[in-house]
């Protein structure tokens, strides 16, 4: 309760939370407000926005309802962003904890693998992965997670290195606890806060990566994505710029909302830490 009040103290946090709430509402309401296939033809092609109120944001080259596509695109963006970030944080936290807690050869091996992943540009990695395995939502999520887990892994390892020297870890060994249980039950939960602080950056990056993949035609072809919409509008950019601008603005607002919210969370936990 108190934490919530602290969170809503800064205007950035409020703005971020509002944007995210709006986005979540759009994603949840999409199948109710726009039932059926958003990729079905809804009217004449290239209708400009604010003319016909059955298609408030107009139609694209094939006559599809832009507003319906925008709503359904929010679903894809959020689902991919959250799933990819969750997978990246999970992989990173587990790898980082194992490396930091085990030390020695295991640490060396895991961190060299992490280095290898980090030296390859992350977008290139995702691009290569999707173009080899084939574009589907699951593959896109895996590709983004594959290129984003190294940051959380490094942060988790650094935190674990300091936590493993604490008395309570020695105490867990003294009572005969198995090392894996110590690592994942005693150490990992206490190493999580700084790792979770990365989540806003990772979610935002994941949404942008997904949009970029879709823009290049490597998104799931059976789903509407904002990146795909921007790519669609590109060919008629001079005659119907709104086709690219509308999903572009949605993308910018989403990433902004996530950053602002993340900032608010960090700010409010920083206060609670300095108070305790």
């Amino acid at each position: 309760m108190n934490r919530l009040r602290r969170f809503f103290r800064t205007p950035e946090a409020i703005a971020g939370a509002l944007i995210l709430a709006l986005l979540a509402a759009m994603a949840l309401a999409a199948p109710l407000l726009f039932p059926g296939d958003p990729q079905a033809i809804a009217g004449p092609a290239l209708q400009p926005p604010f003319q016909d109120w059955s298609v408030p944001l107009g139609t694209d080259r094939l006559g599809r309802n832009v507003l319906a596509e925008l709503f359904h695109g929010a679903r894809t963006s959020l689902a991919v962003g959250l799933a990819a970030a969750a997978a990246a944080l999970l992989i990173g936290a587990v790898v980082g904890t194992l490396a930091g807690f085990a030390g020695g050869l295991i640490d060396e091996a895991l961190m060299r693998v992490t280095d290898a992943f980090q030296t390859v540009p992350s977008f290139l990695l995702a691009l290569a992965f999707v173009s080899i395995v084939g574009p589907s939502l699951g593959v896109v999520v895996a590709a983004i997670a594959l290129s984003a887990w190294t940051g959380p892994a490094r942060v988790a390892r650094a935190e674990v290195l300091s936590i493993r020297e604490r008395d309570y870890v020695a105490g867990a060994r003294v009572i005969g606890m198995h090392p894996l249980e110590i690592a994942f039950r005693e150490v990992l939960p206490n190493a999580l806060p700084p790792v979770l602080a990365l989540s806003s950056v990772i979610v935002a990056a994941a949404i942008l990566t997904e949009a970029a993949l879709s823009f290049l035609g490597l998104g799931d072809p059976n789903r509407v994505t904002w990146g795909g919409m921007i790519a669609e509008g590109r060919t008629v950019l001079r005659t119907a710029p709104f086709l690219s601008v509308v999903p572009g603005v949605a993308l910018v607002l989403t990433v902004l909302g996530i950053y602002l919210t993340g900032e608010g969370v960090v700010e409010s936990t920083a206060v609670s830490r300095s108070l305790s």
Partner: protein, 258 residues
């Protein structure tokens, strides 16, 4: 027949590139139901010995015999199983527990790990342990950070005795407590020793406390044994320079072992 037999224990560290021995050829024995105190100024190697005896760190040389077996030869599951017999209480009772834990979880872990009680039976055992160390059984549901320092140290003792050990290493276990609480915790430790014949390896820099609870004392200086013997005799008439300095530093030595 000694319970714990340490011989020629050595642990070297590197400081500024040069090796130095934190513990240098130290030998001592602890009998069943006996309290042996390790005393000495900071940096004399007391805590390093505690950690070596508990296998939290590995020695460079020497032997540790525990309950008639070579304790250093154990590893993996065999070592974890034997740890039930050799427990520890730390100096700072707040740092010694996972900050997210509750009292119940802290006491549940040893019972679960060593299969001492079934899942259904454990709450009752936890309540009994809490009562055994003079705490209310209702404390079980509280978080570790919600209870007082003295209560926390009692919980630490309850956790140590949960597996019915024959030896408990007390690393400055009463040093961080305030004076009135310290007396009560020492009484509790003496009571447990009388009833269950638990031996203590009692590490402290406070000779007043050592005189009150220990049978024998080993005084350490820079990783070596400076002198050892009957606790009261050594404290009454220290022979080594370190022993003399420690006795002079202790303000009052009026309490006797009850």
């Amino acid at each position: 027949m000694s319970l714990l037999a340490v011989s020629n224990l050595t642990k070297r560290y590197h400081r500024g590139g040069k090796p130095f021995a934190a513990v240098d050829e130290v030998s001592f024995e602890v009998g069943p139901g006996e309290t042996l105190a390790l005393a000495g100024p900071s940096g004399s190697g007391k805590s390093t010995i505690a950690r070596l005896v508990l296998r939290l760190i590995e020695p460079d040389a020497g032997r540790i015999g525990f309950e008639g077996a070579d304790f250093l030869a154990l590893s993996g599951a065999a070592l974890r199983a034997r740890r039930a017999r050799l427990q520890m209480v730390f100096q700072d009772p707040l740092a010694a527990f996972n900050p997210r834990a509750t009292v119940a979880r802290v006491l549940d872990d040893p019972l679960r790990i060593h299969n001492i009680a079934s899942r259904a039976e454990r709450p009752r055992r936890i309540a009994a342990l809490l009562e055994r160390v003079g705490l209310d059984a209702g404390l079980a549901a509280r978080a570790i950070h919600e209870i007082s320092g003295g209560q926390r140290q009692r919980v630490a003792i309850a956790r140590a005795i949960a597996t019915r050990p024959s030896l408990i290493v007390l690393d400055e276990a009463v040093s961080a407590l305030d004076v009135s609480v310290r007396g009560q915790i020492l009484e509790l430790l003496l009571d447990l020793q009388r009833r269950e014949r638990i031996a203590y390896l009692f590490i402290s820099h406070d000779l007043g406390v050592i005189r009150a609870v220990a049978h024998r004392v080993v005084i350490l200086d820079a990783g070596r044994i400076a002198e050892s013997g009957d606790a009261r005799a050594v404290i009454a008439n220290p022979q080594s320079p370190v022993g003399k300095a420690l006795v002079e530093a202790a303000p009052r030595l009026t309490r006797n072992r009850p």
